[in-house]
Point group: D2
Chain length 363, copies 4
């Protein structure tokens, strides 16, 4: 355990920046010393609640504070600029997902951090969710044999008018308009998580993804993992769900939405889940609802989880950074993991255009 | 209503042939006059139970009986031979799915029936399941708006040793060995049903299917339907399921298995279901369990079904043939539908080899 | 089948009178020729919708119409007056439950009908619910062996402020104020049904019931049925339920409430049910939700139901009256059944005062 | 925290004695120094597994060991003899439920302990179950307002042949034969727990209980708690359950059975639960399954539990004794609570004979 707290500065206090701020609040390992945000009202409100030093301009924050870690929580189109500035200021960086709008930018970010001798941590928060961590351990222990198939599907919503809109800042070819939930924002978590769960990396993909944010449609991705497992994602948020009322779950974790987190123990009618199927068993991972079930020849049972439910995974993530920076522990999720996930999304984009299986760059 | 019963002869009294025989028993529209089966013990047992005239050789049956309809329920590799012989004998034919081992054979069967002036009916029994028929009607009435996505996934089993084995007679390149549940045997139902539900046909596909029956692996199929809908199938029967106990359903229909049908009202832990998602609502179709649910802006509700649950769809199918043959009603599912489904599977096979999206022949 | 429709007049077009009116609408066996109601607006609206002859005064209706059957759907305190007047006018009577405010009045009603040579039918609608009828048949066939225990519990609501209020006209000692859901209004159905299900009658009771409608509190009734079965009722509507979300059911029948009936196939979070336990099996009867489940040594399964879900039991009831009146069929539920149920409630009242087991009068 | 471990001797190593032994194993607060058991094989096996000093005769154990606490886990008919002998030997006593075969014996046990200056602890293990403790705290905080109704029902089994048999040693008038599950063995937990949950005591009862262990039948108990709440118990184990498959629960605690405890996270089809209904909300307590749900105007939610699931409540119980004996903490459950529960059961016995409400002695 470190003898001092990690001194953190956050850039960007929008939705996810605020989650970082709130999640760090109770941690014995970190102290939010400063934050930068261009919206003055947001900045003032957060500063008076959390007691950090507010900056309208992140450059001034970098110049004015001796920070251990800069957390980049701005819109994705600005990740490169902020990360490289922080690296040049000699600060370690924890950058939110997706790492960058395109793989080339992600590579420049990694190079800048390497050159500056600082660590670039990639914000793969799913790896910090207790249900996923326990699933990975069970898989590593052989509880489900060889992994054959991993899948996540989020098909639901309230029709086209209820589609969740993300700015074009997420897309390499973004233009006027906006788009929905899909690979680039949500699926990128699973792209990283599937490789991590299976203990391998993605070799080739076939998919349908949205390169420009226009013309939203169902997105999917088929991933051939190097060790033989098949990964499968399917997203559509402009329709209605097909779950029955009894298929819900009491959720102990957060439901991620504009309205914020669910209270603990709330019933969730359509909790997101990840399915991992192996030769000896199968896992149903309710990552946010904080529940895990194993089915094998002995039947189905719930697996006990340790650690904090969402949003505790943001706390766990920054504490992992603190252990690396202050105690020299190995880096759990380096920037390269963010680049790899980005390359898979770009392979999906190419797959759409080429209508064929595409080999992942650098994969 | 016809003034006489349809006179039927069945060729093949294996699993599915027996289902036909049993399902026809109570029908006022048909009479099983004869059946042919090479296994003498099976033939005798069925003949004494059902009172038809038994034949060891189907050629003799065709020569000796003035049948209205020959039902082809032999292994798929022999469908062509039996169908063409029946057509030449001047009999209408109802041929089980898949229509043939390859599209070329299916075309020869259609041509032979056309030439002989008889009708080739394709055994797309899913179209006779009440839950699917009601779903199609709701879609046609606009209850879920435009169809965006249709999906079926059967991922479960009891590990590799429990894999369901089909003979190589199912595969165009079959050799020694055997293989599992997948597109060619089960998925071929959905390939037909998705086009029928969406009121369109499949234009292009990407998939993974097993052309030879060797090396069983997860099979999937992405179908781009002409009217813009996406169809998605995923099959893996050599793993374990991820369903929770509360996700089951009381089933009013058959569970298809070697052990036969479930009693009505039995609890099924993992009932198969088809999901259809549209712009205004979504349908969850429990095709064998005989239940249908609609979710839209007003919530989720169960939809009442008329007609007989499985195996009543076999009865409904032959009664539909009787109406066409005796009363001149339009043919519900002609041989061409079987060819079309076969062509989609073959496109999936080519897609595996070419690692790309493939245009369906004649589609 | 009768050669003509039964000519019916309804007295009282409040909540339950309207249900009778609506339920009779589609029946081929009855015709509502007239109705009497003191609220002119209600009367006019119903008359223009249903096309019957309206009367402000039921005496005039009795004098002016040659009816086969008078349906008494007025507040319970007036059942005696209306029934006796109808009998004296020579009309058969179907009287809503509870038959009267006190047993003595019920006896006078029975006597008046006997003297006038007309039949008094008791409105035990639960006996017409398909789930209950099927349960009774299964019990009679020995499906659950000897009945040991029958129970119904309705414990729920939204706290004391949400208590369902009934007028004091329901109670023999009613005074100013009002009271809640309990034995006298709801339980009286089960008192009748338990004897009918067990094929016996109630010998002694211990209970807590509300004789005056003041001081509402949890009501219960323990019934010792002559053939050895134990009946158990428990009602409390001024608290909250303890059901979990997954314990609900898709309901095919009506939910009885001020807001009227549920649409068919609606999910009901806390559907009322009756439990019948025997030596060889147990039944769970969802009487309004139109579902029935049997558990025995072979497990739990759903039992198929014929007939119409609620409010179809009102139609079935009047059609049963029509068969008795026009075709001479035996009377299914005579007035004596209503008297017997009333005597059980009064025994419960005496039990409260005497704090002891009470023998049911005439039981 | 005490500076030394509590030195414990157990008398009786049958079913519940073994549970005590196993549950104490991991506790930092107690040490099982000795145990007495007349079955030599059981004694030897347990001694070699747990390392205590074995005694065939408990009198020798009392004479030979300087124990802090004697745990009485013998058949109930011998509780008096063992407890009084232990008290006279100057040992504190933790006596299993029911405290004695009759209230008079319980009083003699209390008197003997008082005279010897030792504490008699009553084994009301339900008070140590986390779900019940949390429920009691919520009630005390006003979360459900005033308690109106508490109920537990265990109605199920596999018919008369599957009835759970207890020796006649449980009954004050026991003779040859045996009997089933009911008030005296299981219900006595709830009799204690209901008063404790409601913060009051039982004033009067009406019930049906088995005084002799002959003629097993459904047992029930209606309890009028001094502060106005109604307690209601109903037990029948010689029939079948009426629960539906989806009404089960993943259980984190023990299922109490001859076959022992369930593994954690196992699905339980019919988990026992206690319902507590108040004016502002209601609690569903799955005491062994280790789950708690609150329903109020804001809906239903699961409540987080601390502490160890069953059989951890046996550990918690002995640790509570240790705190009282070594640290002077107040006695949580004195022998008087066991006497009070016994007096309620005896009032139930009298109620059967007198067919009336009975005032609880000393209540």
């Amino acid at each position: 355990m470190a003898i001092r707290k990690l001194k953190v500065g956050i850039v960007g206090l929008g939705g996810v920046g605020t989650v970082h701020l709130e999640a760090y609040r109770g941690s014995p390992a970190v102290e939010v010393a400063a934050a930068a945000e261009i919206d003055a009202a947001k900045l003032d409100a957060a500063a008076s609640r959390h007691g950090f030093k507010p900056y309208a301009d992140f450059h001034r924050m970098l110049a004015g504070e001796s920070l251990d870690l800069v957390v980049v929580a701005t819109p994705v189109a600005t990740h490169e600029e902020v990360t490289i500035a922080a690296a040049r200021a000699g600060r370690h960086v924890l950058c939110e997902k997706p790492l960058a709008v395109e793989a080339a930018a992600a590579k420049r970010m990694i190079a800048a951090c390497t050159q500056a001798g600082v660590t670039l941590f990639y914000g793969a928060t799913y790896r910090q969710l207790p249900a996923l961590r326990r699933a990975r351990d069970l898989i590593a222990e052989g509880a489900i044999g060889d992994v054959l198939l991993m899948r996540e599907q989020e098909v639901g919503g309230t029709g086209p008018d209820g589609r969740q809109i993300m700015g074009f800042a997420h897309y390499p070819k973004g233009g006027p308009g906006g788009s929905g939930f899909g690979l680039v924002d949500h699926g990128i978590h699973l792209i990283d998580a599937f490789g991590w769960l299976a203990g391998s990396t993605v070799a080739t993909v076939f998919g349908r993804g949205n390169i420009s944010g226009a013309d939203p449609a169902s997105e999917y991705l088929l991933m051939n993992v190097r060790n033989g497992a098949l990964g499968h994602l399917l997203y559509e948020d402009s329709t209605f769900p097909t779950a029955l009322p009894g298929e819900g779950l009491f959720s102990w974790g957060a439901g991620w939405s504009i309205d914020g987190y669910l209270p603990p123990g709330a019933w969730q009618a359509t909790p997101g889940s990840i399915h991992v199927h192996g030769t000896k068993g199968a896992l149903r991972i309710f990552h946010y609802a904080h529940a895990l079930f194993l089915t094998d020849k002995d039947g189905t049972r719930q697996i006990e989880l340790e650690g904090r439910a969402a949003p505790g995974h943001f706390t766990a993530q920054v504490e992992s950074c603190a252990r690396s920076i202050l105690d020299g522990a190995p880096v759990e999720v380096p920037g390269e993991a963010g680049l790899a996930a980005r390359e898979v999304v770009e392979a999906a984009y190419r797959s759409v255009e080429m209508k064929q299986v595409v080999t992942v760059d650098g994969g």
